[in-house]
Symmetry: D2
Subunit: 335 residues, 4 copies
């Protein structure tokens, strides 16, 4: 049992608290949030202590590991402190919105033998993982193309956008990680376009995008397409398609159940998709804890670590440069 | 080229005329209908002669074969005459609504070396046939259960019912034939229930049914379920499911194309099914002509012949007795 | 929190223990099993006491309710004792394999205001329930036919059969309950055939069946078909199809995830189905506890109670008489 | 009946000959091919004359219209001659592989009131067209993204490649046309990558590609992705996906029938897709003749004309420049 303290008791933090408590390999050791009532509510629900400040968490003897689910701008600080305190750390994505801050974080923890896992949960989705495993086992031969469709069901509130750091750093970053995961090679080139189609006035005002298409290419020539929309209306659309020399694998969307309707206007009409990420990736959020508990227990690096967090951010930066310059950007131009 | 004369120029006759003209192995030699304008319309469309009466067809030297698509009460007479005239005959189902008339017909043609094919077209549907072939080739091991779903899209007009001879002789007879085809053994017992649910007053008045469920069992114990509804509202539902020791095969419904709709209330909603039999079984109607032309060319019995027509009717009679007596009826009680 | 004691710590008991502990409306108060090591294992896992004998459970003040998951022959005894002790009871199906024992149980508890829920979990499956709700809300108009397909993935061990009480009382009983649930009316007639096709020698020896087809009819003429196979090979097949005046609803099978494979021989090939009932009906097993906790809290009858357990058994008895006599059996011939 | 002469009696020409003969609005007037035995075979099959040379076709009084299905380098010449002879012309894609030749052709026929249809048959596929119609009717609101997947089942022979003019001019050109058709606006920017993954040595030798991804953007910001592979192994993959403000429409692949297989390793495994274009787009090839016959009858421009052929080629040229320069290319840089 990895006794894990939780930093941050917002929506995703509360979910992690429940998962840490329910998971057979972890327990919830205590919680912290700068907004103390949020911390107290989670603590009360699970019968665990509230830490008075962040430093108390890193110092606590009964805390084996730290799970960082606080606001993005605290991630890098907490991550550094956890590592310096010698505690394994699970950090929600992104490490930081600024690549230079990520690089300083890397320097700060360099040489420290730390267990660091990034919260790229989608790698742990049963369908995506089964597809990945089939690719790795050669079921479709040499991999040629990967297509990732990732569309949110509905626009988040404006306040969300204002702190999210831009669509490609916030939403697409998951897809950049999936792209790296499935391609099995580093993308070396990035091309992107992005638009303002769902709510153009707001997007203009906050200088963000709601619709994007991205192309990646690896050194060996594997091709990857990502498409994103902030509001699909028909649900949370999460698909991965891999095509290789011998066939295709598709990790399809999921529904809460399989009722199908047949009437005069439509046949086999299915339920709306599982909506939203907490429901769609419920198994993935638990499975990533399994990996974390196992990595902590074995003092090894988790499957998805600090460098994965950094590289996804590098791809986002390359994509932004591509948008600005209308050209294919070499990833090594960024970092 | 089997030069084939057509008896009966109603809806199904007109379809057969087009098929005989288009099929590479057949041609339309001429037509006859007691309603002469119907015959003339078909004849004009295809540039073929109208015969003045039925006997002229059987006597015509340029007629290699006869296709009977006239009203049911003429089938047995025409079939006898065709056989006595030494001409191969393709006869729409049923041979007759009366089993005793069918038996007299059998006696009348006994000993005559005749090519006779019955119009049980569904055996020739590409999906049903691929399922049947897979069963025969042992893909699912020993066959245990067959489930046949057969539902019409909408109620035919009252006039149709009045001459159809009862739902089980008219509609279910196709399913009885499919049951025999898939089971690979003769059913030896029949149980049936039938109801009046779509239009009870009309069904009461004409003493017919619009909804039925049937159970068949073969000597070796294979089980078969048939369900029928005269009006599904969601299209022409035509499915066959075979379960065996090693798996299942399902011949599913077909749509005119594969547009799928995704919106806030439904995902993957498909088109309504192909509706009705002329569209759904278009390929089957052509494929049965291929079998007929080939059987004529090789002077052999077609895959589906007179005795198949008779046995399907025997099953319908057994089912009617089961409905009347509320018990499993042995098929050999009927004939 | 309904503090619930568990009787019986076998496979299904262990699952219920986990569910009682995890469910927000219940807690596991303690356990009992005649095989004390089994009880101790469950008790240790959840940190709860082991009761020394069954009576200690019924007497325990800290026990608000009883969940009976012990061997079938103890169900009726425990149920009576729980009711006499004034404790709400959740009883796994069946109440007993003998209808007369069930009736004596009913007499023993008559007049006692008891909360009794039967473990017909399938009613609580999200897909089945959504179908049922749509039927009740009139989405497909007047209901005409219900088709229930229920096939186990693989043969249980012989020891299971020897105590199961016959396929129709053990396996089909769930489908009889679903039939009543969906039909919305009591079946008044039953017809059944059953065979020995998967393992005929063993079935002969223990006088049981492994393959069945059943027809039910309600007073208003609604029709229902059930088919069962003890070994499908392709997974746990659990489908419900409802056809009415305006359309069809199908609660389809579920897979652990939605990976689809495309290769030279097959397209869109899905994963094997969720296998077996503990996985397939995981949500249903939790949802039935929600209903139980709610009924206990509101001192009301649960949605599925003692009489539902009895009526499903009556249908099984009617089906066995139908098999023996080859005829439609009126349900009121049985009880 | 539009009496239509066929230029070119290769594979696609023979198909057009059959279609012209079978279509109710057209007839086959005669044929020409520089390889006379090919012309004679088609002529014999349909009982029509062989013209001694191309000019004889344009001069023939009994020829109402011309269908050009000869080798690509003859298209523009024949098209000019047909127009100058005052005959409506149906021309297989492309008009020419060289944009400057296409422009000279345009000048040559400028001012002549000609009916010219290009063979972009996919617009006439029932599924694609139903999707397009739904988009146009506003079913998914404002259109945001179009995704076109277009993969051939298997590599054509090397000789095919050598005369095809490059993957983007030969294969992708259909997708460029579909992109314009669905987007409802002209693409103003093109980005493309292309690779050599299926058969790198041959692709190097003939300087062609077998795998591509393309991004298009319209003036209003609609985004389009196209992906191509020359050899999928799992069949001819032809999908169009349209996402808008209110939902998604997908025109899915089609199979020859709907047999589904269920076994221990896979469930719901479908048939391989219809393979290849003559089978997959059989209805589309007939439907484009309906449009042609109708346009000729009404002396109007067909839905897809000369300028559509030119614009698809312009997009291919822009894509090649993008590949060469690694940047987004403005379409007006090309022409």
């Amino acid at each position: 049992m990895v006794r894990t303290a939780l930093m941050g008791c917002g929506r995703i933090g509360r979910m992690h608290a429940d998962n840490l408590a329910a998971h057979p390999g972890t327990s919830l050791a205590g919680v912290f949030d700068v907004h103390r009532p949020s911390a107290e509510a989670v603590a009360a629900r699970h019968g665990v202590p509230v830490y008075p400040d962040a430093d108390a968490v890193f110092a606590a003897a009964e805390v084996d590991a730290i799970l960082i689910a606080s606001v993005t701008e605290t991630h890098a600080d907490y991550l550094e402190k956890a590592v310096l305190a010698g505690k394994p750390v699970f950090c929600e994505k992104p490490i930081d919105l600024s690549l230079s801050r990520v690089d300083r974080c890397a320097q700060a923890i360099a040489g420290r033998p730390a267990v660091i896992q990034l919260g790229f949960n989608r790698r742990f989705d049963p369908g995506h993982r089964a597809a990945w495993k089939a690719v790795r086992e050669g079921e479709i031969g040499d991999l040629h193309q990967v297509l990732i469709t990732s569309r949110d069901p509905a626009m988040p509130p404006r306040s969300y956008y204002e702190s999210a750091g831009g669509m490609l750093r916030d939403m697409t970053i998951h897809d950049f990680d999936l792209a790296r995961y499935f391609l099995g090679e580093e993308p070396v080139e990035v091309f992107a376009i992005a638009g303002r189609r769902i709510d153009p006035p707001m997007m203009d005002e906050i200088d963000d995008h709601d619709t994007a298409m991205i192309v990646l290419r690896t050194a060996s020539g594997r091709q990857c397409h990502i498409n994103n929309i902030r509001q699909s209306r028909y649900g949370y659309d999460q698909r991965v398609e891999c095509v290789g020399a011998e066939g295709m694998l598709v990790s399809e969307n999921r529904r809460p159940h399989e009722l199908r309707r047949f009437g005069g206007r439509a046949t086999e009409a299915g339920q709306p998709y599982l909506d939203f990420f907490i429901e769609r990736y419920a198994e993935a959020f638990m499975a990533e804890l399994t990996e974390f508990a196992s990595a902590v227990g074995e003092s090894r690096q988790p499957e998805v670590g600090f460098e994965d967090g950094r590289r996804a951010l590098v791809l986002a930066e390359a994509a932004y440069r591509s948008i600005a310059e209308g050209r294919m950007v070499r990833v090594d131009e960024i970092g």
